[in-house]
């Protein structure tokens, strides 16, 4: 049994943590409250505020690090004030300030950590650095109540299949080149569809209208997968489609020509089938029955549906969260950071350097002992 209450403030029976997240194009700040003692189904963490602002780039373009960092710098004070106002707190009430230490895009990470350092010194509150992926996993577990799931973490920058073993979240399978969200975003750019609210959502809506399945490469490598080849393949198909070039793959079985909707449909079917397959492989390999889907792409209904079908045949259960917690947010950083804080982790100023390369399995998960 782990004692999580060694560092509680003497006059209190709860903890408050603020989390700042800005590893990609979302700037999120959230405040979470943990009651004293172990978190259970009856003794749950409480979300006091969860504010987010997203930098949206024009159609056909991705978000550049420089512009994204500028967005974060411009908005961080407003979002922070908002988060405090919604929670009805002042800065000095907090136990700790948690920030994303990586992985992510360098410039946006830097922009947000500077804000975190500033308020930590202003209010004299300790800092806690958090691994972004661990933030997603812990938040997913807390919200859904999944005990020991196989985690599929799918977002714009990450595609990993993770399971817990001996105080680390071990990576069983991951992408060998680009992440799934990146693949979808880049295809959305090829099709010039809007980035608002996010490209994956718009692809999902188009895919619902697609009917013809175009065969794409299927590249599962053990428990790993590769997606850059699929992207290049479908990009060239789309190129042929727009240029009106002849291509027999662009003629459907009933003789009609393939539409952008059909391409979105085929891309989703192919990529998600690969994701579900590697998740199933990991489940069979480590003999677990629960699946938890986290990360931005995890809010896709088709992926959740396919996962549910797979899990049903294995008599397991699938857990997913909605867009408030799936898509990057400050709450998850606050939650994971507070868990680390309750185990005694705080980062001195010199130790708050961010890194673009911070692997999930590097984090020592001392708040779990199973």
């Amino acid at each position: 049994m782990i004692n999580l209450d060694k560092h509680i403030k003497p006059s209190r029976d709860y903890y408050l943590a603020l989390g700042l997240e800005g590893s990609a194009n979302k700037l999120g700040i959230g405040i979470i409250k943990h009651p004293k003692g172990e978190l259970t189904a009856t003794n749950r963490a409480e979300v006091l505020s969860n504010v987010r602002d997203t930098y949206i780039s024009p159609p056909g373009e991705g978000f550049l690090p420089r512009d994204t960092a500028r967005h974060h710098r411009n908005w961080v004070v407003r979002v922070l004030k908002d988060a405090l106002a919604v929670a009805g707190l002042v800065g000095r009430d907090l136990d700790c300030i948690c920030f994303t230490q990586g992985p992510g895009m360098g410039a946006p990470l830097q922009a947000v950590v500077i804000a975190a350092r500033t308020i930590a010194q202003l209010w004299d509150v300790p800092l806690v650095g958090v691994n972004h992926c661990v933030g997603h996993i812990e938040m997913g577990r807390e919200i859904t109540g999944a005990q020991n799931p196989v985690v599929l973490y799918v977002s714009g920058g990450n595609t990993q299949v993770i399971a817990y073993s001996k105080n680390h979240y071990r990576i069983f399978g991951e992408t060998l080149d680009i992440a799934i969200g990146n693949c979808l975003d880049r295809f959305a750019r090829t099709l010039k569809i809007p980035n608002d609210p996010f490209p994956g959502y718009n692809i999902e809506q188009m895919a619902k209208r697609g009917k013809n399945f175009v065969e794409l490469p299927y590249t599962v490598k053990g428990m790993d997968l590769s997606m850059s080849g699929i992207l290049a393949f479908i990009d060239s198909l789309a190129g042929d489609m727009f240029a009106g070039n002849k291509n027999k793959l662009l003629v459907a079985a009933d003789g009609s020509s393939v539409t952008p909707e059909d391409l979105c449909f085929s891309l989703q079917e192919c990529l998600y089938a690969m994701l579900v397959e590697i998740t199933e492989r990991a489940m069979a390999h480590v003999q677990l029955q629960q699946v938890l889907i986290v990360g931005g792409v995890g809010s896709n209904e088709r992926l959740q549906q396919m996962m549910a079908q797979m899990v049903q045949d294995r008599n397991g259960s699938v857990f997913a969260t909605d867009e408030r917690f799936c898509i990057d947010n400050g709450i998850m950083i606050a939650h994971a950071g507070l868990l680390a804080y309750r185990m005694g982790q705080t980062n001195e100023l010199w130790d708050t350097v961010c890194s673009q390369k911070f692997r999930t399995d590097e984090v020592y998960v001392n708040w779990r002992d199973d």
Binding site: P103, K221, E269, H285, M310, F358, R359
Partner: protein, 269 residues
């Protein structure tokens, strides 16, 4: 346990008694004593494995049919080829590719704790149940070296496995006089296998196994992996002599590159 899948398998295989052994990620494994081709009078009580790849409800039917057929055929082909080359594999009996069914001879046995004798179960058994230290003793070293040797021989024939994990390596005792700690490894499940002479593909094969060891057996993974690589070189030397040694160095050099390429690797060390 997924009864409609079992019913489907039974419908494809009428009048054949099936006993379910395990549900893997993409296939169900049954045992039976019926040979598919022999007349009733010549049936023996040999045990056969039937591996059935059910159609996956989550996949688009077109994609599903293509994947099932392709994997079943390539698994059967590679198993047959390896059998001819004298590498230890389950012997192939029959294939029905569109339905995703393969018959083969039975390998492996049950461990002391009732689990199937896959390398994973055996290592877990040593790490958790057995006497301390037995997970890293000379017997374990010998078996992991053997595993490496088998992979080396596979690669010398320009065949890559594609899905090397500790679940896909079975341990068997081909001779009846072998005792409890004496096992010979057999590589199974060639569904993702392919023919390739490229050092890149072979290195990825080794890398997949290395990662599987790290994630499944985190405590001793470094030792295990070193033994596997030791055996890998042996396997090359055995099949190809001097040329084998050269190929082995080439692949291992490539393995270093593949390791460096992994995503979000720490830049230190």
């Amino acid at each position: 346990m997924a009864s409609h899948i079992i019913a489907q398998a039974q419908a494809y295989l009428p009048n054949i008694p099936l006993t379910m052994v395990s549900q893997g990620a993409e296939a169900l494994v049954f045992t039976t004593t019926t040979h598919p081709c022999l007349p009733v009078s010549e049936q023996t009580d040999t045990t056969y494995i039937i591996k059935y790849r059910p159609s996956k409800p989550y996949r688009h039917p077109k994609l599903d049919a293509q994947i099932t057929k392709h994997r079943t055929i390539s698994e059967a082909k590679i198993m047959h080829k390896l059998g001819q080359l004298g590498i230890r594999v389950p012997r192939l009996v029959a294939v029905d590719a569109p339905k995703g069914i393969i018959w083969m001879h039975f390998v492996g046995k049950l461990l002391a704790n009732g689990e199937m004798s896959s390398l994973k179960n055996w290592l877990w058994y040593l790490e958790r149940v057995s006497a301390p230290g037995s997970a890293t003793d000379a017997g374990t070293a010998r078996i992991l070296t053997q595993v490496g040797r088998e992979i080396g021989r596979l690669h010398m024939h320009d065949i890559v496995h594609g899905d090397l994990t500790t679940s896909n390596i079975l341990l068997e005792q081909p001779h009846t006089d072998m005792n409890d700690t004496d096992w010979e490894p057999v590589l199974i499940d060639y569904g993702l296998g392919s023919y390739s002479g490229l050092p890149e593909d072979k290195a990825v094969d080794l890398y997949v196994l290395e990662r599987a060891l790290l994630s499944t057996h985190p405590v001793f993974s470094e030792k295990y992996n070193a033994w596997v690589l030791e055996g890998y070189a042996l396997g090359h030397a055995e099949v190809g002599g001097k040329l084998g040694g050269k190929k082995c160095t080439e692949t291992l050099r490539r393995l270093d590159e593949v390791r460096m390429r992994g995503r979000k690797r720490s830049l230190l060390g």
